[in-house]
């Protein structure tokens, strides 16, 4: 039988606890420092503006792109390579534009993204498009179908087959000569497309636009969400354990975790997006889950061993649940590491945040929640009366 910490008897709740309290204070200070001095790299959800993700055929030269976008008068542009180097993907962020364009239907968002895409095109591509050629990497299914529709009988099948091929190949066709080999594209269609098309240097992966009001409202909603969750948990623990002090210590522990997780997001400069908010809320849930397992054991032991010192009981409870605490967080950490490593760019900030939160959540349920409970009982001379 494989075992860890089965008969653990670490003296964690005595003088040692102060070391951990110091560690926690230190982590909190670092997080607070990061949040105050560095702030958050607010994602498009919160900051508003436009983000355009494009994938190039060849490794993009960021400086050239920047120059092209600046020439187009797009102002404050942030270009970032994302994914692996051979993905050739960049994310272009344009800050909120203070123009009067707002008002036209489809207004600002569409306008900015269109301008970005237009600016990224090479002069040859622009000339070809003006000459009525179709860009194989930018044309959507419906555009392609209509373009073919005026020239071929089976336009919809050809468009379908071509787009499927393109989607399977990362959204990009490298050469017009590839077309002939795509199953479902008839020879006539292939020769028509090969002669009347160009292969653009990039494909559009995604466009995001968030207006200023939406971002502001979202920030408010987020603050409410976290507050409500904490309140809900506080009330639940209070009711469940009949003692407000237990509720307060567990809430301190979870605020500790969420605060540090948020601090680490700030410190690493990862994008603070809606999914990170979801991660922070999940940490709330996980942290309290862990704390409750320890508290449940303390309550059980308090009933069994009335004559023991409070510290001894808490220490024994923490030790008894230690193997479970470690195993659960280990299995969770494994799932999260997989998510962080293989889950792709979009989930990266979320997975990272969860990883930090779960790590600290495990630590805090023992060294913050339980330790604070001991401190509180010493300090205020509280006595646990049988619930």
């Amino acid at each position: 039988m494989l075992q860890v910490f089965t008969n653990a008897n670490f003296r964690m709740m005595y003088r040692t606890k102060w070391y951990f309290i110091v560690i926690s204070m230190f982590s909190i200070l670092v997080s607070a420092w990061a949040m105050v001095t560095r702030g958050f790299n607010l994602g498009i959800d919160f900051a508003g503006g436009t983000a355009v993700q494009v994938k190039f055929l060849e490794s993009p030269r960021v400086e050239e792109l920047r120059a092209a976008l600046e020439t187009a008068g797009l102002g404050d542009v942030n270009i970032q390579k994302i994914g692996d180097t051979d993905d050739n993907e960049v994310l272009i962020r344009v800050e909120q534009q203070q123009t009067a364009a707002e008002g036209v239907a489809g207004g600002e968002g569409g306008e900015v993204s269109t301008r970005v895409l237009e600016a990224l095109k090479t002069p040859e591509e622009r000339a070809a498009t003006q000459a009525g050629k179709i860009d194989l990497n930018m044309a959507s299914r419906s555009t392609l179908q209509e373009w073919l529709g005026t020239r071929l009988p089976n336009a919809s099948e050809v468009a379908e087959a071509f787009v499927r091929y393109r989607t399977e190949h990362g959204g990009l066709v490298a050469q017009p000569s590839e077309i002939a080999s795509i199953p479902g594209v008839t020879p006539e269609a292939a020769s028509l497309l090969t002669s009347q098309s160009i292969v653009g240097s990039f494909a559009l992966r995604s466009v995001e636009f968030v207006g200023p009001t939406a971002g502001r409202e979202l920030l408010q909603d987020t603050a409410w969400l976290i507050l409500l969750s904490i309140l809900g948990i506080l009330i639940y623990v209070w009711v469940r354990f009949h003692k407000w002090m237990w509720g307060v210590t567990s809430v301190i522990a979870l605020m500790h975790d969420v605060f540090i997780a948020a601090g680490m997001i700030s410190l690493t400069g990862k994008e603070f997006s809606l999914t990170v908010v979801a991660a922070l809320l999940t940490i709330l849930g996980y942290s309290i889950n862990d704390t409750i397992v320890v508290f449940d054991r303390i309550r059980e032991n308090l009933r069994l061993y009335r004559e023991h010192e409070f510290e001894d009981i808490v220490n024994a409870s923490v030790n008894q649940t230690l193997s479970r605490t470690m195993l659960t967080s280990l299995s969770l950490l494994m799932a999260l590491v997989a998510l962080l490593m293989f889950g792709g760019d979009k989930l990266n900030p979320m997975s990272f945040c969860l990883l930090v939160g779960v790590g600290f959540g495990t630590y805090s349920s023992v060294f913050v929640a339980a330790a604070l409970l001991v401190v509180a009982y010493r300090r205020f001379g509280l006595k646990y009366v049988k619930a």
């Binding site: 239907a105 399977e168 992966r205 009001t213 809900g232 709330l284 849930g285 889950n289 969770l332 799932a335």
Partner: protein, 532 residues
């Protein structure tokens, strides 16, 4: 006991089978969110202020007209704020008469007398709210019409928001990948156009009969149409009741378009037939006046969606208002048309608050990455449980598999969408799900160390761990619930998978896992060692 276990095994089996049925085939049953299958998500705000302003503009003309007929015309009628009109220079002796008249004919206004010779007509709050509300409904209707015409499968077009935010419209178009085009389609007000008809040389405008195909039209011009002329169709109903199309030669440029519309309403022509009236902006009114003055006797085509509705002869100088007639209008169609024109008549009517477009290739990549990450994560967890708990680990792994299966089945059954963060939620559920098993198994080990029999240990393990499992799951549920209730889009999907995962977990870790242990105990009643 025996019977009891048989029933429990049967129930477990039934749930597994039902879940499999609900999920199979996954490609059809699991609805992927827009971030996974690609598509456009847009939240738009209808600027209802414009609708109120337009109503005031229209009323301004009408009140002036109505009072003019009775010889009561005030010197000046002007808008006051967005929802009121000021009538200046009213004959003080006839104020009461005017009040009565306006009050009777325009019941939506509340009339006050701020000073001598002055009247103020303000929209009643209920009417104003009604105008705002119908503006949003009209925008919704227009978008729906346009999206339908575009031919999007399973679009979502909904009104969103409550209270002061009830002016929002959510548009989700799965599988549509070019945002520019869709935005143009949804947002573009270029519905209506006026174009001069360029009759072929030597033909009198009044006697021109458009042919039923563009080639014959070209022949009338001697083979090719002039450079600035194009052939556009008109849908007609022939004498035999069949639909026919005729082609008109019209200018390529459109001097006046729907962009120049200020307002439009259902109306009647002079024969009492349904028609639609329109009001142009001041600037366009001047251009219209110029156009009609210079082209007296010619035909002016009115086009909707590049199809000619009618091409009446210009008999008089028209400035900023007129009527669209002919075109086989019915009551409903004029209502629909004026409704479409009205939302087109609000060129500043829509504001995009949020737009997200995900290309299909990015969505496909996300699905692949999400599945790979979840599979690797679950393999690690499975391996870990098997190494650490041996046969009991296998029990936990079975419970875990059931958990994920039930989670997917519930999502398929309720038709909820799986988003990218939702996949993260599943990965997280995999990591969390074994928690309950670990709690139970550690308890069982503890009991066995204290010298209890296998059977007693299993019973005590499950019983003692139960409160903890319920407590910890419920508290995890609280933030997930708030996130689900208040969150939007992908994040809502994450919260949902988390919540369903928690409930499924309670069932599998407590009921399914226990059933398997009890089945083992029944098969081998005198078991004295448990592989745990």
């Amino acid at each position: 006991m025996n019977l009891d276990i048989r029933w429990r095994l049967l129930l477990t089996l039934a749930i597994v089978v039902l879940s499999c049925l609900a999920v199979y085939p996954p490609a059809r049953k699991i609805h992927l969110g827009l971030d996974l299958k690609g598509g456009i998500h847009m939240v738009m705000r209808v600027k209802t202020d414009d609708a109120v302003r337009a109503e005031i503009d229209l009323s301004q003309e009408r009140i002036r007209g109505a009072l003019g007929e009775k010889g009561l015309a005030p010197q000046r009628v002007a808008a006051d704020g967005i929802n009121a009109l000021i009538l200046d220079g009213v004959d003080p002796a006839r104020t009461g008469e005017i009040r009565d008249l306006v009050g009777r004919q325009f019941p939506q206004f509340q009339i006050t007398t701020p000073g001598p010779g002055r009247l103020r007509a303000q929209l009643k709050p209920a009417d104003e709210a009604g105008i705002r509300d119908s503006a949003v409904r009209q925008a919704l209707e227009t978008i729906r019409t346009r999206v339908d015409r575009f031919g999007v499968a399973e679009p979502t077009i909904q009104r969103q928001g409550t209270g002061a935010k009830n002016d929002r419209i959510l548009v989700q178009l799965p599988g549509v990948e070019d945002p520019e085009r869709v935005k143009d389609l949804i947002g573009s007000p270029a519905f209506l156009e006026w174009k001069l008809v360029k009759v072929p040389p030597g033909v009198v405008a009044d006697q021109f009969r458009p042919p039923d195909n563009p080639d014959s039209l070209a022949k009338m011009f001697g083979g090719t149409l002039p450079e600035d002329v194009e052939a556009l169709p008109q849908d007609l109903v022939g004498q035999d009741g069949k639909a026919v199309q005729v082609y008109w030669p019209v200018t390529k440029s459109s001097p006046i378009t729907g962009n120049d519309l200020k307002n439009s309403r259902r109306d009647q022509d002079r024969f009492g037939q349904p028609a639609v009236n329109f009001l142009l902006t001041a600037d366009a009114g001047k251009r219209f006046q110029e156009l009609t003055r210079q082209n007296q006797g010619q035909l002016l085509a009115i086009l909707l969606d590049r199809k000619i509705i009618s091409a009446p002869r210009i008999n008089a100088v028209i400035s900023d208002q007129g009527i669209i007639e002919g075109g086989n209008f019915t009551l409903e169609s004029t209502e629909d048309l004026s409704l479409k024109l009205r939302s087109g008549a609000l060129p500043a009517g829509m504001e995009v608050l949020e737009e997200r477009t995900v290309g299909p290739s990015l969505g496909a990549d996300s699905v692949r990455q999400g599945i790979v990450a979840s599979l690797i994560g679950s393999m690690l967890v499975v391996l870990f449980m098997l190494v650490y708990y041996r046969m009991s680990g296998a029990n936990a792994v079975f419970a875990l598999a059931c958990n994920i299966l039930i989670l997917l089945a519930a999502m398929a059954y309720f038709g909820s969408t799986l988003t990218l963060p939702g996949i993260a939620g599943i990965a997280l559920t995999i990591g969390m799900a074994v928690d309950a098993n670990v709690l139970v198994f550690e308890r069982i080990r503890e009991e066995m160390r204290n010298g209890r029999t296998v059977k007693a240990s299993i019973g005590a393990g499950f019983e003692k761990a139960l409160t903890t499992i319920v407590d910890s799951n419920l508290t995890t549920f609280i933030p997930a619930f708030f996130l689900w209730a208040k969150g939007t889009g992908p994040v809502k999907g994450f919260a949902l998978t988390l919540m369903v995962g928690i409930v499924a977990n309670l069932f599998t870790a407590v009921f399914v896992s226990r059933t398997l242990f009890d089945a083992l105990l029944t098969l081998r009643p005198r078991i004295d060692r448990l592989s745990i």
